[in-house]
């Protein structure tokens, strides 16, 4: 049992009403489901979820089934944030302002095709919660590269002979540039940290964004039973650090575990099978640099520069 900053406990949240129903169509080991269950437990039934084309658009179930348990709107691929803004506006104008409006979108619909709508809604500080479950490629269409795919990873459009040559887009810094009230990264391996961030987001208003590292056995070419372990290794290797940003300026690293070996993280994922020692070194160097940048931001005195 762990206390988070809001005084609630992981255990008390776990005992809450399970809004999400069984019968969803997720792969075994898919990271969406455990996160979504917790998300809905925190936000409750007075919630509407908007989802663009992504794995969850399929996972929720075909007409007339829906597993999510709250009003659910599918929207076009590039429109998640704009659609959520429309739902928010409608509920406000109909005199029902207490409904949580949540986007649940993949990395493609967030980092790539939905990026313009995301930026627009963030700039307008729309009163919504945008949850990006980032499984680091277009998994629903069969594992194609997105701008969230990490440096060196295999996908069907970045084959072993030409793995991804660019690093993962730094969405946190971009969103910080929009000065949104809240941005946080989360991982299933650290549920207490995740719940605390959900609670924090729920207690705020304006544009809040959760960036969730979402395990994907299919796309990562890894065993379903290793998913939580992989999620933990991603944080430990600083491939996916856990942090939060308040108002675009106050950065805080929320989980700072003992570093783990990147080779260990790569070894159990087929998407990194082709990685040579020199490539591993290059990726390690890249992650070290990113971590230093993040640490600097997180430790910078608020009045620096004056």
């Amino acid at each position: 049992m762990t206390n988070n900053t809001f005084g609630t406990t992981t255990e008390s949240v776990m005992h809450r009403d399970d809004i999400m129903g069984p019968g969803h169509l997720a792969c075994a080991g898919c990271g969406i489901i455990p996160m979504l269950r917790l998300l809905l437990k925190v936000f409750g039934r007075r919630t509407v979820v908007v989802t663009p084309a992504c794995c969850y658009a399929v996972v929720d179930g075909p007409f007339p089934y829906s597993a999510i348990g709250v009003p659910f709107m599918h929207c076009a691929f590039e429109t998640a944030a704009a659609s959520a803004a429309g739902v928010r506006a409608a509920f406000d104008m109909r005199g029902i302002p207490d409904v949580n409006v949540i986007v649940l979108a993949g990395d493609g619909g967030t980092f790539d095709i939905g990026f313009q709508a995301l930026s627009g809604a963030a700039e307008r500080n729309e009163n919504i919660v945008y949850v990006c479950y980032d499984n680091e490629a277009y998994m629903n269409t069969g594992i194609q590269r997105s701008s969230a795919t990490p440096l060196g990873a295999w996908t069907t459009t970045t084959p072993e002979q030409a793995p991804k040559a660019e690093s993962k887009k730094d969405i946190g810094t971009i969103m910080a540039g929009h000065r949104i009230p809240y941005f946080a990264t989360t991982s299933m391996a650290y549920p207490e940290d995740m719940l605390a961030k959900f609670e924090k987001a729920k207690a705020m208003s304006g544009f809040r964004m959760i960036h969730y590292h979402c395990s994907c056995p299919t796309g990562w070419k890894a065993d379903s039973r290793d998913m939580i372990g992989l999620a933990r290794l991603a944080v430990q290797t600083r491939a996916f650090p856990l942090y939060e940003i308040l108002d675009g300026e106050s950065w805080q690293i929320t989980v700072d575990p003992e570093p783990a070996d990147l080779q260990e993280y790569f070894r159990i994922q087929g998407r990194y099978r082709h990685i040579q020692p020199n490539q591993l070194t290059e990726i390690e160097r890249h992650l070290d640099k990113e971590w230093k940048t993040l640490s600097r931001k997180a430790s910078a005195p608020e009045s620096s520069g004056r």
Partner: protein, 390 residues
């Protein structure tokens, strides 16, 4: 019944302002828009009207037309009356979501200011932007005057909400969008009487959770599209009732088509939008010369009122169709559509159909240009293809 005359005021306003006033009077609850010439004065007027009436409407300055339509779709899915306005490239950017709005059966109203499509950049009127959206499942009205714009936007909400299909109200760039005319302004009471609050049967409701727009298999998709098709067709007759209800309150009505001196005519000139006014003058001029000509204005383009058109054009000798658009590699769009409709008449009762394309990119459809089409039609056998008039 309300005594209308006592409740109206006349304002001299542009077509764009008339559209804005109509969206405001219709109590649009969510307006999402993105600026594009020549639509801008429309959304500027709406921004001003809604800012002065806090709590009445959420005006969202989205970052693109695509997001404008996305926000309208979502707002309507959540039970709000939604409005947007655009033009040309903006409408084309919305294309994907036009299909979504009709497929989701949402009664959104969109005003499109007809403008040519790039390249090259041309901000003047033609109909290729909206007519190329003809297969998206939206009702389409083309307007001739600022008054008709105002009345049609309000009528569209009622028609759309009754049938759960979206409506597009279309006006010519500058010739109508920026031309000021006296417009009778209905009172708020009158509009409220005509257009009660929308209460949708299906909506995002936390007390009754449901999923909207998810996976639809082979067993259901075709039936849902068939329902949409039927609803669109129903609009062709339902619009008459809506128009009549509006007439009872305001004295004004428009129909799906408007005929001018067509009764005894054996030649009919078919037009849409502002060219219809010019065509009326051309008809008068030919009538003075003893030519038996009339003008048929098509107000409703989708659904295409083919039955009514067959009835009215049965036995006419010549039909002259003016297209301010072109389906490249085919013909003028109205020319093609009306020929398809007239095929339903016995051959002996079908008029010869002469198609003309002119007025693209804002080229003025002067009386002389329209006269030259009529002269051409009177002196030539009908050609297979639309004839371009420079």
């Amino acid at each position: 019944m309300m005594r209308v005359e006592e409740k109206t005021a006349v304002r001299v306003i542009t077509g764009n302002e008339a559209a804005a006033w109509a969206a405001f009077l219709a109590r649009s609850q969510v307006i999402a828009s993105y600026p594009i010439t020549p639509q801008t004065s429309l959304i500027e007027t709406l921004a001003s009207l809604t800012a002065k009436a806090p709590g009445r409407c959420r005006f969202i300055n989205v970052e693109s037309e695509h997001s404008a339509m996305a926000a309208c779709i979502a707002a309507a899915t959540a039970g709000a009356r939604a409005f947007t306005a655009t033009s040309s490239q903006g409408l084309l950017l919305m294309h994907e979501l036009l299909h979504w709005a009709s497929g989701a059966r949402l009664p959104i109203v969109l005003v499109n200011v007809n403008r040519a499509t790039a390249p090259g950049w041309n901000i003047w009127t033609d109909q290729n932007d909206s007519m190329s959206q003809r297969d998206t499942g939206w009702i389409q009205f083309y307007c001739e005057s600022a008054q008709e714009v105002l009345d049609t936007v309000i009528q569209s909400y009622r028609l759309s909400e009754e049938l759960r299909v979206p409506s597009m109200v279309i006006l010519d760039a500058f010739f109508l969008s920026h031309t000021a005319e006296p417009v009778e302004m209905p009172s708020q009471d009158l509009v409220d009487c005509f257009l009660p609050p929308w209460s949708p049967e299906f909506l995002l409701d936390v007390d009754n959770p449901a999923a909207f727009g998810g996976l639809l298999g082979i067993d259901h998709y075709q039936e849902m599209r068939g329902d949409l098709h039927e609803a669109l067709h129903a609009a062709a007759t339902r619009v008459e009732g809506v128009d009549l209800a509006w007439k009872e309150l305001t004295g004004r009505s428009y129909g799906t088509i408007e005929e001018y001196r067509c009764g005894d005519a054996d030649i009919v000139l078919m037009t849409v939008a502002t060219a219809s006014s010019t065509a009326r003058l051309v008809v008068d001029s030919f009538r003075e010369r003893g030519v038996g000509i009339g003008r048929l204005k098509l107000r409703m383009f989708r659904p295409f009122p083919d039955e009514l058109l067959r009835e009215r054009l049965r036995g006419k000798r010549h039909l002259i169709v003016l297209d301010r658009n072109c389906s490249y590699g085919s013909n003028g769009i109205l020319f093609t559509e009306i020929k398809g409709a007239l095929y339903g008449l016995p051959e002996a009762e079908r008029p010869q159909v002469h198609g003309y394309i002119s007025g693209l990119g804002g080229r003025d459809l002067t009386p002389a240009r329209i006269e030259s089409m009529v002269e051409h039609a009177l002196n030539h056998a009908a050609e297979e293809r639309s004839v371009w008039i420079g």
